[in-house]
């Protein structure tokens, strides 16, 4: 063994030198009872439950259907005032949410005109979560969207035409036709990792981005998303656990949008709230109303700050509902209609608009109308750019499989890691090993 002396100075980020996160001891005399807490900033706690029931059709044939029970007439909660956002920032997030929705409306129309290759995925009802989360990142932070986080891309500086061209498989799309949807990235300027269709794989990848940056002396926040469906994958566990043990600045939004394609969350997981799983990882977990941009931002901001301080990952569960089918082909007929009605009243944009115009009076009705008209003009111009981009040539399918000489210069983005070298030297080993 090369090192016999014990060092009293442990850096907080080296392997194996941290204490475990654990329960608080709220009651010193009850050592047999552990208590954990999951902060929940929501102003309402919907109690809806979905279950399978047998229904008879008019001919008397039996069919299994989903039925929703609970207080479907609960009053719509107000927007919670942000602890951090000012008027200007709130309006900016609102504008991104409008851009997000109007871009998706334009995509729906392009699809109906036969201009989209494949399907269209929507983030309808989830715009607050996509936009306000990404808004909390600093320029140097990294993010990786999922399919419904098209709003996050707009916040991070991508253009609506980028996403539109992806859907239309155009030559000028960020992947030059090679992939669609939000499947693209940019490691140079906007620090975005491309998603793949398989769910959960981005979580360890983003942990690795934080690990690479930390080697270079930077504590970055790395934000990504997983659905209530995607969190069932094993790699989700592996990724969060890796980020936790390595104390990496992962900001994981668990988007509980109640439906995994056609499967309700009741059949995806058994715990009450997915944020509870944070306890098992030894990391903070919080619950927010995913339709309230202020709550989403505040939780994201606090998680990003934690990441920048080198305090490790945070799991944020955002509760909302996917307000369309899985993709444009899916009419979501399996969703009980009263559930759509319930969540439609909680539309993130309509409520934020009401908050800004009527409650806070940060926008006059005229200013709001002008803002909406401006967003529509932007989207129309972006649509024009996208539509006018040519299709790629057949031959452009070739090449680029490998990074060839001169194609990229690879160097540490944040500076060469500072090297501390021990005194250990290269030695020959003749040790007991597995399978000689």
């Amino acid at each position: 063994m090369a090192i016999k002396k014990k060092s009293s100075k442990h850096s907080s980020n080296s392997n194996g030198n941290r204490g475990r996160n654990g329960p608080s001891r709220s009651s010193p005399d009850r050592t047999d009872l552990r208590t954990y807490s999951i902060p929940d900033t929501r102003l309402e706690h919907p109690d809806l439950t979905v279950r399978q029931v047998i229904e008879k059709d008019k001919d008397g044939a039996e069919h299994i259907r989903y039925e929703v029970t609970g207080n479907l007439n609960a009053p719509v909660p107000p927007i919670r005032d942000s602890k951090y956002l000012d008027k200007k920032q709130c309006i900016e997030i609102y504008r991104y949410m409008l851009l997000n929705r109007k871009m998706e409306t334009a995509l729906e129309n392009l699809y109906k005109q036969g201009k989209v290759v494949g399907g269209v995925y929507f983030g309808l009802g989830q715009e607050a979560c996509s936009c306000a989360s990404a808004y909390a990142l600093d320029k140097d932070d990294w993010f990786a969207p999922m399919i419904r986080n098209q709003g996050s891309l707009l916040v991070r500086g991508f253009r609506a035409s980028d996403t539109m061209m992806q859907y239309m498989a155009k030559a000028d799309s960020p992947t030059r036709g090679r992939d669609g949807t939000s499947h693209f990235g940019d490691i140079e300027k906007r620090n975005m990792v491309s998603p793949i269709s398989m769910l959960g794989d981005l979580i360890p990848v983003m942990a690795g981005v934080a690990l690479g940056a930390r080697l270079q002396g930077r504590n970055l926040a790395v934000m990504t998303y997983i659905g209530d469906g995607g969190q069932s994958t094993g790699v989700t566990y592996e990724g969060i656990n890796f980020a936790a043990v390595q104390n990496l600045g992962l900001v994981l939004f668990v988007e509980s949008n109640l439906w995994a394609y056609s499967t309700p969350s009741e059949i995806q997981y058994r715990c009450k709230d997915l944020a509870e799983r944070a306890i098992g990882y030894g990391i903070p977990g919080v619950i927010v109303d995913g339709t309230d941009a202020c709550q989403v931002y505040d939780a994201a901001h606090e998680a990003v700050e934690r990441a920048h301080r080198g305090e490790g990952p945070t799991m944020i569960e955002a509760k909302m509902m996917r307000m369309k089918g899985h993709a444009i082909h899916d009419a979501a007929a399996y969703v009980p209609k009263p559930m759509f009605d319930f969540w439609k009243k909680r539309d993130p944009i309509a409520r934020f608009e009401n908050y800004l115009v009527k409650e806070k009076k940060w926008l006059t009705a005229k200013e709001n109308a002008e803002l909406i008209a401006e967003v529509e003009r932007v989207i129309e111009a972006e649509r024009e750019i996208a539509v006018n981009s040519p299709m790629p040539t057949p031959e452009s399918a070739e090449g680029g499989v490998f990074c060839e000489d001169g194609c990229h210069e690879i160097k540490p983005k944040y500076g060469m890691p500072k090297v501390k070298k021990g005194t250990g030297g290269f030695k020959e080993t003749e040790a007991a090993v597995h399978l000689k």
Partner: protein, 323 residues
């Protein structure tokens, strides 16, 4: 200096970490313990726990984290305790890592390395040669060295490469072979095969531990007047098509020898390349010697029956010579 195959790999990683502070290692039990086979022994003492990272038993997380880190411009070297376990990370490698540069233009300079191969009675989950899972994945370089010299030169080349490289170390060779390894810095180019024995009668195209099997057979056969040429592929993806064609054009008869199962194995691909590049030069059928189409069995007599042997090469070479 004379080094074992294992020490040559360690020295290659060591020198690269010394030369380039952006190189770091991660994997299971690679730190204080030094790895299940001790390939990374001593690295943590020298380079510290920030650059020699013990991970949870989570292969997808190891590959994912290596990939994510590589996107920030550092060069991870991730160890699989056994290459059999690379299947646990298959999606991450195949769908995330391999497709990245083609789809969105991000280079992923990472190395995935670990022990593979049989002849050590490791049983079905510690003896596999899963390189073909990755040969069929465009975007990955797949490297299988046979000698200490090549192992060191190729691990250094893999670490310096701007693409994801999967580096299969043959665990049977780890401590069984020693070879001369120069003290000065060198790399062995990825994608270049090497004639390890010149001959005129027929060619054996092979790699990794099977190179030594072929060399042993060649010694026996030379006494019978059968002169084998042995081409060590060294890299199985991308394949050195030119070297394959050249040796066939020279000897006109070819045996392809590999350890993994026959069906869908590398020999089929090489036979197709010969068909495309040197069909008119063939004076006999292309012969395959490969593992059985089953899992690698555990019990020594069964494992020996499953795996290619020197006697198999001798038998097939005599048959092909007489054709």
């Amino acid at each position: 200096m004379q080094l074992t195959y294992l020490e040559a790999i360690r020295q290659g990683i060591w020198e690269e970490m010394d030369r380039d502070p952006s190189v770091f290692c991660l994997g299971e039990d690679i730190g204080i313990y030094g790895g299940a086979f001790k390939v990374t022994d001593g690295l943590i003492d020298r380079f510290g726990p920030e650059r020699v990272i013990d991970t949870p038993i989570a292969e997808s997380a190891i590959v994912g984290a290596a990939f994510g880190a590589s996107l920030t411009g550092v060069r991870p070297v991730a160890e699989f305790q056994f290459m059999d376990f690379i299947g646990c990370a298959f999606n991450q490698i195949s769908n995330m890592v391999a497709k990245t540069h083609y789809l969105w233009g991000a280079p992923a300079p990472l190395v995935l390395r670990g022990p593979s191969g049989g002849y050590v009675h490791g049983g079905p989950f510690h003896s596999q040669n899963p390189e073909m899972w990755f040969v069929h994945n465009p975007g990955l370089k797949v490297i299988c060295p046979a000698t200490p010299y090549d192992a060191k030169g190729l691990i250094k080349a893999a670490i310096r490469d701007n693409n994801p490289c999967i580096f299969f170390e043959h665990k049977y060779l780890y401590r069984r072979i020693k070879g001369e390894v120069p003290a000065e810095d060198y790399v062995v180019p990825i994608g270049k095969a090497n004639i390890v024995r010149e001959g005129r009668d027929l060619s054996i195209i092979t790699y990794a531990a099977m190179v030594h099997t072929a060399l042993e057979a060649a010694e026996v056969l030379s006494k019978e007047g059968i002169d084998l040429e042995i081409l060590d592929l060294r890299t199985v993806s991308p394949l050195d098509r030119e070297a394959i064609a050249q040796t066939v054009k020279k000897t006109n008869k070819v045996i392809i020898l590999h350890e993994h199962s026959r069906t869908g194995g590398l020999a089929g691909e090489i036979a197709a390349i010969i068909n495309e590049e040197a069909f008119d030069d063939l004076d006999g059928p292309i012969v395959r010697i490969a593992g059985l189409d089953s899992a690698v069995p555990f019990s020594p007599p069964q494992e020996e029956h499953y795996l290619p042997k020197v006697s198999d090469v001798i038998r097939e070479a005599r048959r092909l010579k007489a054709y």
